[in-house]
Amino acid sequence: MKADVIIIGGGLQGLSTALHLGRRGVKSIVLEKESPGRHASGVNAGGLRQLNRHMAEIPLTVEAARMWKNIRELVDGDCDVVLRGQVRVAESDVQLKKLQARVDMLRAQGYEHEQIIDQETLYRLVPRLVEGCVGALYNPDDGSARPFHAATAFRHKAIALGAEIRSGVEVLGIEEGGDGWRVETSQGSFTAANVANCAGAWANRFASMLGEPVPLKPQAPTLMVTERLPHFLDLTVGAEGYQLSFKQMQNGTVIIGGAHLAKLDFEQEKSVIDFATLKTSAQTVTRFFPHMAQVRIVRTWAGIEGFMADGIPVIGKSAKAAGIFHAFGFSAHGFQLSPVVGRIMSELILDGKTDLPIEPFDIRRFQKTE
């Protein structure tokens, strides 16, 4: 089977890449070992967060936020996007100063999307927050979407634009063939001039085959969801000094995250929830939202995600093999970036370059010692 582009992995990065290629009339085949959205992309917390991102990601996250705001134009569906803002709460003046320093630095570089709010504004925005917090870092344009709905919408749109999505096809190897790349799979071989490695937590398998292994660690961040509650919160709440991500969904349930890790058996793709760790998560919740004490947890789960040693992804061309492109290692914050990552990948594949500054994500940052 021949295609212009083969994409390994039917998560959001792979589907978004297929969608953007389709917009430019290029057909791709997405090979997914299970079903699209089965892993990180379908089960994440759906947080659309620009707030408090790594500096290298700021240009990408700002562009991605613009795309989420108009998501219907991109995928014909709303992905359940809600943009009501996000705060990072400070409990002390020292913490608030630290957040202020961040805002000053962003300002100096021309970014206005994050700001400091005072105590009064914070309690107006988050009335049920425990007393005594002093202020917060705030972005009014952040919010959330429903991940599985987003993955479904990206998939349908990619298909509508000509992409072919093959579920249950596991990629086993990549080799240089006569006219491009030969991709061996559990269902026969495929050839293409270009291959995009969007294999999430499994991506190092392919980077290694191509001679450029990376320090990618598969881990399993955990989420909890509560029973439905009467509406009490519009914003997504985080807290300086704590692993917390706290938001109320449209249906009243509260999703609690913060990248607390489950025990992962990567070989078997099985994770075991670590309740000793989630205990800390529950304590953080009752510290900031005491009224949640009697609320019942309905479900806990973990998703498998690839974490990079430096916390930012690999996005870009392979340094070792022409025609190979990488986008992986999103370290638990790649959902928000997915619309822009697909655009960047399509530009790299079709134009050889992109306008967005992706140097910090170059895979060569791990190859210096050679």
Partner: protein
């Protein structure tokens, strides 16, 4: 983390027998159960029930006392009022007792969590006034509450008949018993009759119940189809097709029942392998002849591993108890085989009636996999059958994808109520083979746990 040699989950006949057998060989054993007293579903409250009510429930019920006495005399530790909200493949469990959550670990675990009634989404099943027969029976056993103003019993399965008979003796006016099993079942069950006669007391008992009910003037309707519960805010009547005519019976209370299925949430939460049983129409754990699951050190016995009834559950419990004792080094293989031999034979004989019962009480396919589009499938998230079908036609090919997209099965009951129905809807739309792709993935907590309880979790020495 508190550590035990053997933890048995569930104090019904299976769990009581397992714990007793293992403890009698010297195993250090802990049995925990949500209920306040031992007995499980069938012998619920058997130690504390007033004599008169116990007699009304019949001799099979009273037998439970023997089992409980022997368990009490053993060295096993009993932890009542304890619900288990998590079990993982490392044999760590999360329990909740008097509001305190804690984690425990065991070298071996025997799951004996029993059965639940098969939830079936028929039109009107969510109306107030519609309950399950099991719920009716629990009220009768635990507090002697019976419906004074009369009741309609409808569905499929022996428990319906048993409850009718128990109600008859308790003086409850029964407005009708509606048998929804297709007429064809009788013919399909006949080839299994000779085998079943090896355990003929079950069949005789059923016939006796039926005869006594008929003699008391209770109206039976057989071959009922297109069954609806109807009403505005509450149940007003049931409507159904009988002998090609449409009938209506006014009633404020309907008890429905469609057989029982293993309560497989614990074993699925742990990650044990399961398969779809076409005869029992439910998910069952994969087990070997000693009831070991696919996970090392976890055995599943009794109705939780496949519906066999209380007698088979008791034997299976003993067999697994001896196997645990062997695995823990208290007896050798030969001693285990000897000790379990009789139970294996008795269980085998007792189970001979099952193929007949399963054929006789096979619920109609239409009822299970074909609810009308408007019928609620998931009560918690209010998802209707039509939405499930639409999700499948939009390319979501298994129960979990349907769940992700529609939220069905994501409410407080964690899919206990809609899991089977969705599995069957998916199977019908996609062809039976797809059933193999599995039901919902079950996530802890499988019993309610509050944020405060989790925040106060006793992890003991977590460094281990």
């Amino acid at each position: 983390m508190e550590h035990h040699e053997l933890i048995v989950i569930g104090g019904g006949p299976a769990g009581l027998a397992a714990a007793t057998a293992a403890a009698e060989t010297g195993v250090q054993c802990l049995l925990l159960d949500e209920q306040g007293t031992p007995g499980g579903q069938i012998y619920r409250a058997v130690e504390t029930i007033p004599e008169e009510r116990a007699r009304l429930l019949g001799p099979d019920y009273i037998y439970g006392r023997k089992l409980v006495d022997r368990f009490n005399a053993s060295s096993a530790t009993y932890l009542p009022g304890t619900s288990l909200w998590s079990l993982n493949s490392r044999r760590e469990i999360g329990i909740l007792r008097d509001g305190q959550a804690s984690l425990m670990r065991a070298d071996r675990i025997i799951i004996a969590s029993g059965a639940m009634e098969r939830p079936v989404p028929f039109p009107g099943w969510t109306l107030p006034g519609v309950m399950t027969a099991g719920a009716g029976q629990i009220l009768l056993k635990s507090s002697g509450v019976v419906p004074k103003d009369g009741v309609v019993l409808a569905g499929v399965g022996p428990l319906l008949l048993l409850l009718g008979w128990q109600y008859l003796h308790a003086g409850v006016p029964i407005r009708g018993i509606l048998d929804l099993s297709p007429y064809g079942n009788i013919w399909r069950s006949l080839p299994h009759l000779p085998g079943a006669l090896m355990a003929h007391h079950y069949i005789l008992k059923g016939l006796r119940y039926q005869m006594q009910l008929k003699m008391a003037g209770v109206k039976f309707y057989g071959g009922v189809s297109e069954f609806h519960a109807v009403g505005g805010d509450v149940l007003e009547a049931v409507e159904f097709t009988h002998r090609r005519g449409r009938k209506r019976i006014e009633t404020e209370l309907l008890l429905s029942h469609f057989g029982v299925i293993p309560d497989s949430h614990l074993s699925r939460c742990a990650g044990c392998e399961h398969y779809w049983d076409h005869s029992q129409l439910c998910w069952r754990p994969v087990t070997d002849e000693w009831d070991n699951s696919s996970i090392e050190g976890i055995a599943i016995v009794g109705d939780g591993s496949g519906i066999g009834g209380a007698v088979a559950a008791r034997h299976a419990g003993r067999i697994a108890g001896f196997e645990a004792a062997r695995a823990l080094g208290y007896i050798d293989t030969k001693q285990r085989n000897e000790a379990a031999g009789k139970d294996q034979r008795w269980m085998h004989d007792d189970l001979r009636v099952r193929p007949f019962l399963e054929a006789r009480f096979h619920p109609p396919a239409e009822l299970l996999s074909g609810p009308p589009d408007e019928t609620l499938v998931c009560r918690c998230e209010e998802v209707r059958a039509g939405e499930v079908r639409r999700a499948m036609h939009a390319g979501h090919r298994d129960a979990n994808q349907v769940k992700f997209l529609t939220r069905c099965g994501m409410g407080p009951c964690q899919g206990r109520q809609c899991d089977n129905a969705v599995s069957q809807l998916v199977a019908r739309e996609l062809g039976d083979e797809k059933m193999i792709s599995g039901g919902y993935r079950i996530r802890p907590p499988i019993r309610p746990l509050t944020i405060e309880q989790l925040a106060g979790l006793d992890v003991g020495d977590a460094s281990q």
